[in-house]
Amino acid sequence: MDTLKRLEEAVVRGNMDEVKDLTQAALDANLAPLDILDQGMIKGLEVVGQRFECQQIFIPEMLLSAMAMKEGLSLLKPQLEKGDAPQLGKVVIGTVEGDVHDIGKNIVSMMLTGAGFQVVDLGFDVPAQKFLDTVKQENADILALSCLFTPTRLAMKDVIQALQEANLRDKIKVLIGGAPIDQKFCDLIGADGYAPDAPGGVQKARAWLGK
């Protein structure tokens, strides 16, 4: 089996050591870093998403896959940055103010990193102003907001409003997620998109940046 297929499968199994070894092997074999990313990592991520959706894998397995992707990317990243390939986008991510739940956000953050995005993770209980300042400072392409319960999701609206007031709304895509988030809520607050799980969020981010 070729290295990239094995890498894909190692991502699916969430085997961190294997993902690192296979990423290194692929680099040693002079495979293009972007191919390693797209045909190894991202393919694996797609399978993880499908399996999660049909309840074949659950949070522990998805978490391991996310951690493994992130590890693999740490080897790939210097090569990706060296090449002429266009850089993937920059994402600012965090759990909104008043909410300290971050397991979902962490998985998304790791998977985005593993998919080659530059990720600025602000952690949890993040005030709107902090999101705004970071988006400006980092010149981010995507802002990803997470929450677990319903009163705190209203803070997502405050963040979007802050972007509007700063005339930044048109310059950035806002991705939202978390247990109480659905398309209806996304439309209600005027976010650009929502995803029901971490792999879905990564796919959406990739699609927005034309990947």
């Binding site: 894998i57 522990p60 978490l63 008043g98 962490n106 209203l154 803070a155 659905d182 209806k184």
Partner: protein, 386 residues
Amino acid sequence: MKEEQIFQDRRARINELRAKTERMSHRQRAMMAVKHQEPDRVPIDNWMVPEIQKRAMEYYGCDTYEELQRFLGVDFRNNYGPSYVGLSFKKFPDGTVEDLWGVRRKVVTYGKGTAHEGTYSEVAESPLANMKTVEEITAYPRWASPDWWDYAKVKEDCAQYHPEFCVINVGDRLDRTAQLKPMMYLRGIQQAFVDLALSPKIVEVIRDRIVAYFTEYNHRVFKAADGEIDIFMMGDDMGGQTGPLISLEMWRRYFKKGFKAFIDIAHEYGIPVMYHTCGDVKALIPDFIECGLDILQSLQPRATNMDIKQLKHEFGKDLCFQGGMDIQHTLPLGKPEDVREMVKYAMDAAKAGGGYIVCTAHNIQVDTPIENVTALFEAYHEFGAY
């Protein structure tokens, strides 16, 4: 109770509906439903965050929460267990406070400066987070002990509500009988999930400590209560919005034995068991039934596979249900008509043959307008009648 006309008018609808349907005590009604019999109306339980309790009290002119509960026709009263008499919980300069397990907690405020401001006590630091070996974890000096509680008042605390109300021994949200939840507090959520996948020995040593603690603690609680507890409630979130957090195989491997042990203790004392879990846990329900569970609580309707009609059809013969009212969308964002429709749907689906206690799938949250709270309780009384 305030008697000004405005409050009497606001209370009139519920009073009128109750006068029409109610023919038995709260406790009789609740216990009939638990035994899969049809009482006069579907029993009502009530979960509200303190801010909503206060708002509802103000709206209906109630001076105390107990007055509100009585007016709303809530059939259950909670017992929070024995009194803590262990060493006082250490306070730290950063404002965090140790809990029963030595987990540092802090109060987090959300919706600051808005109409929906509220607080929750959240984990700030997990004491076992950085430990790598079973030995280190075993040597942790702060494992909770059942000796830290004084059980003498449990009987009296429960009996004060008898014979009128049905008493649920609920414990506290943060110390409720569970396995995975304290493990997450102690280890950190992310590390706990990694452990489940990679470090069975670590999972087992933590779990065994937790199960041993609750086994002995609950024995003492039930013994002290001397027949005054009507329902025992445990709670351990195993469901997410779109499926169980862990696989059925993993649940069986790590948690089934403890789950059954907790149920068996309550049953030894003749107490039916209610189990709270958020989210989609449908795949686990046949095992819950096999372990002897009496009442499944939450039935979060926006989670996948948790439609009450379907659950009643598949499992209603073996299991009672408590919950089913949506706090994620309908209550905070819907109109009173949507709330009414939701109550009617659940009642039509689940009340036949008893076995249904109506309640929200979790606390009514602070983002819920009072019109929807009143619509909810009015609909409970309107559509709950047999």
